[in-house]
């Protein structure tokens, strides 16, 4: 098989073009991409840690996720007492290489609004943790898990929101 010199030159040109476009792609700031625009508004809940976990590949492994709720706000627990209220739910995208086998949520605390002292709500306030059990395939997975919640203060509520929970999962 003889590859003419012109083909070799073409291949080298292709390499250069791809290198240039790759560099340009890497310069694009993810913060400006449209998928993150909405996150720039209020966040009632902050993901604290862990940023990275190392787990045995293929085995169910526990991971404790720590979150913080802004002062003076509360969010519904995973099991709110009304069908209309939106529960707090943690999820992991199916395509991330990491599967969420189970998630254990803390029990909600009783909370009453001043305007209706007889109605008890089940909520989280301050710091809370979710005990997740994950199964990772071998390798390094940059997982963008999600937490959906709906926050209120004592007189008003913010729309439901989903935040990204970024975790670097290393399956060994």
């Amino acid at each position: 098989m003889i590859v003419p010199n012109s083909l070799s030159r073409s291949l080298l040109t292709a390499v250069c073009l791809i290198a240039a476009s790759s560099a340009a792609f890497c310069q694009q700031d993810p913060l400006t991409s449209s998928s993150h625009q909405s996150v720039l508004k209020t966040q009632a809940v902050e993901y604290l840690y862990p940023e990275q976990v190392s787990v045995p590949a293929g085995k169910t492994s526990p991971v404790t996720l720590h979150f913080r709720i802004q002062q003076n706000l509360h969010i519904n627990s995973h099991a709110p007492r009304s069908e209309y209220l939106i529960p707090t739910v943690f999820s992991v995208p199916e395509t991330s290489g990491v599967k969420l086998a189970d998630a254990t949520y803390p029990p909600g605390a009783d909370f009453t609004l001043p305007a209706d002292p007889d109605q008890k709500l089940s909520v989280y306030t301050g710091d809370f943790t979710i005990q997740a059990k994950i199964v990772s395939t071998p390798g390094n997975h940059l997982v963008e898990a999600k937490l959906r919640y709906q926050a209120c203060d004592q007189t008003q509520c913010l729309p439901p929101k989903t935040i990204i929970v970024p975790i670097d999962v290393i399956g060994k």
Binding site: L31, Y47, Q156
Partner: protein, 211 residues
Amino acid sequence: MKRNTIVIGITFLVLATFAWAGWANWMYRKQAAARALASASNAELVPAAGDVPAGASLTGKPAPNFTLEDLSGNKVSLSSYKGKPLLINFWATWCGPCKIETPWLVELQNEYGPKGFQIIGISSEGNDLKPDDKEGWAHDKAAIAKFVKQEHMQYPVLINGDSLATEYGGLDAMPTSVYVDKDGKVVAMQLGISSKEDMEDHIRKAMGEGQ
């Protein structure tokens, strides 16, 4: 031939290396950005309940016109209530404080309705449904209809209040109440709940009483 095979092999190796490096760099930068956003939660963007801050308030201005659908699919415009004092109440099924004030609204409509006053409830579920998401809208409508029935809301209830966010000061929190006089001018705007008495005061103001 051997030389050319080596050239092709090296070329593909370089291509693969660049592709991998580009992807890995992008993913790490994307995750770093997500982390930065996740930790940027200090902003206090929830205004305290009560009168809307001056910059976002419509008080003193004409109430922006709108046309929305009710639960039966009929189109309803604000302009069709011309000449009536109104309370435009933005609410959501997931909003606990909205549920608390709903019985007050029902009572106030019963009391002041015969005098020409009208409440318009506008559901604002805040879930960014696309216009062609039939399943999503059907689910929303079913939940709203159930809530309306349970709470005996006898006044008109419209849907997709989120589409009015820009015109109505952002609608960042529920409930948001806008009181309009018979000339179509906003006389008060309130975020969150306070009390039935406060709402009644605003209604009387919208009706031109007690000024």
